[in-house]
Amino acid sequence: MKKIIISVFGPDRPGVLAAVSRILFEQDCNIENVTQTILQSEFSGSFIAEMPADLTSDALCCFLSEALTPMRLQANVKLMEINPPALGGQLAEPYVITTRGPDRKGLVANVTRIIAGYGVNVTNLQAAFKGGENPNDNIMIYEVDVPVDIDTQAFHRDLRDKAAELDLVISIQHRKIFEAINRV
């Protein structure tokens, strides 16, 4: 058995997951992980599955495209390699970085450049830029793993300086505070 990662995207509509999972089932693939989201009107989904040894990723991609093209969806299939964890086993603490402020080009690029520069890994990003005055309509929420051996104060300072330059209000908080407040 081989592991594959499949990405599917296109206009959202009822039946997308049903179509993908039906093809995988028919080809004797076993789904291990799925995540999907809808960005504005677009569906985007990623699937990790085990695939029989005698099936190729190109062949599976053909089966998927045959079923999904009429729905105006695209699929890509890639063989998965066994990779080390993103931080190579370094100890890390989970933080949440939130920015709120007016939309402009380059916000994500500017913030992630600093995050990447410190070897901090983004594990989840939710961002919405709807314009208007409501600060919650222009928000970026980065869930990140911060290696414990980086200079945290310098990391926070650089993020805050960049946020000020971009006219953003930024918060950098350990994830536990959100769990403590919101979850029993």
Partner: protein, 457 residues
């Protein structure tokens, strides 16, 4: 994965609703510092306090930064000085207070509590020396806080101590006349004082506590008010039962913040975590007021008819939410209504909606008492003692903590303003019924016996 609403609602509480940890208070047991030699005694307590607390402020700031929650005040409470310094004279007690002050300055905490005597059933030699030292000690230090427990449900009300405190409060005000009697803002008279209050001026390290403990006082009146406002602005048209539920859930969130911060500070300092005091403690800032909650609930002002019922509901809902959030709840735990420390309550007093009598009634259903109440400077010691006695009676009969922090402002009369500065705020001076008149009842002295409520074994 966290949801956007979980993150946004938390940020709102922090950035727009004044959610903070009001105080992390390090309790330090000083009993084994006792020595009959005053200098050795002072050296011992200075070394103990500065040794244990040297990293307190730094660690609180570090943990606060980590979670994005400011720890506004870092404080210390110590064993009751009247007990550990029982062999010293009144003048020597003043010297001890100065040493406590120096230790507080050295480790950069804003207040140190524990200049305390427990005299609910009788006044021992050390208690008398400490109480007599209070006016000078508080006038000549700026960070020392003092408390005297004059009553308990188990012991009754020590009316000799009550009268003594009336006189002490007058003298403390007189010694700080140029600052509107500021020394009295650092002095609480209690019934049923808890051993683990993190809030000042009543914090002291209880005799039954361990070597050191971290207690946390959370706040959050602004968070509660906004939650009520949002509910009332929604289409759901909540009734008081549903509003109570909203307050309870909000208190849960606030308490969880305090417990998280407190436990981490305790862990880093390698000191036992004690309790969360889940009180709604206001500051003299708009949006951080307990009084504003009453207006959100539909009352014209705190003090108008309906206020006691509203406060009872508020206080109870806070306790219920907090009790679910933490298994280690202590201190005062409820709503504070300090007049000068809450802009809205101060304004209610100025506008005539709130009298001392109404405040006293309200204290029967909340966690403190007549707190930060400025009264005319010519109010007699007997009348001050009588006000204290009334407040103590509420605590003793209802098996709860009550306290007074009364400030007879020298040279000022009802309607004038007193200014204390910082978190202590400012206030109109409230009128006192029979302020200068005689009070033979108080002069009778003795002990009002413990009530039937004490016989519960």
């Amino acid at each position: 994965m966290l949801s956007t609403s979980e993150i946004v609602s938390t940020l709102e509480m922090l950035q727009n609703e004044h959610l903070d940890v009001r105080t992390v208070t390090l309790g330090i047991n000083l009993l084994d510092c006792a020595s009959a030699d005053l200098n050795r005694f002072k050296d011992n307590i200075f070394a103990r306090i500065t040794g244990l607390a040297k990293n307190l402020v730094h660690v609180c700031n570090q943990v606060g930064d980590k979670y994005g929650i400011p720890v506004v005040n870092k404080r210390i409470s110590v064993s009751p000085v009247a007990v550990l310094g029982a062999m010293f004279s009144s003048m020597e007690m003043v010297e001890i207070a100065k040493t406590l002050n120096e230790a507080a300055v050295s480790v950069n905490v804003d207040f140190i509590g524990g200049f305390t005597a427990l005299v609910q059933k009788g006044i021992a030699r050390g208690d008398r020396a400490l109480i007599e030292a209070i006016p000078q000690a508080l006038a000549e230090t700026d960070r020392v806080c003092s408390s005297v427990n004059v009553a308990s449900t188990r012991a009754g009300i020590n009316m000799d101590a009550v009268l003594m405190m009336g006189k002490i409060i007058k003298e403390a005000a007189s010694r700080t006349a140029a600052q509107d009697g500021l020394a009295c803002a650092k002095l609480c008279v209690f019934a049923n004082i808890p051993e683990d209050i993190p809030f000042m001026a009543g914090a002291y390290m209880g005799i039954g506590e361990s070597d050191a403990v971290i207690n946390v006082g959370v706040s959050g009146p602004g968070v509660v008010k906004k939650a009520i406002d949002r509910a009332l602005a929604s289409d759901s048209k909540p009734d008081l039962g549903q509003i109570s539920e909203i307050i309870k859930r909000t208190a849960y969130k606030v308490t969880r913040v305090g417990e998280l911060i407190g436990r981490e500070v305790a862990q880093v300092l390698d000191i036992r975590f004690g309790v969360v005091d889940l009180s709604l403690a206001p500051t003299p800032n708009v949006g951080d007021s307990v009084g504003e909650i009453f207006q959100s609930l539909g009352l014209k002002s705190i003090g108008v008819p309906g206020s006691t019922a509203a406060l009872a509901m508020l206080n109870d809902a806070i306790k219920k939410g907090g009790a679910f959030a933490s298994s280690h709840v202590g201190g005062l735990s409820g709503a504070f209504i300090p007049v000068s420390e809450d802009l809205n309550i101060g304004e209610a007093a100025r506008a005539g909606f709130l009298s001392i009598e109404k405040l006293e009634a309200m204290t029967s259903v909340c966690s403190v008492g007549l707190d930060m109440v400025a009264i005319p400077g010519d109010t007699s010691a007997e009348t001050i003692a009588a006000i204290i006695a009334d407040e103590m009676a509420i605590g003793v009969i209802n098996k709860k903590t009550t306290a007074t922090r009364l400030i007879p402002v020298p040279g000022k009369k009802a309607g004038d303003f007193a200014f204390f500065g910082g978190l202590l705020g400012q206030s109109v001076i409230m009128a006192v019924n029979n302020g200068g008149g005689e009070n033979r009842f108080i002069r009778l002295g003795g002990l009002i016996p413990a009530p039937l409520q004490s016989m519960n074994n």
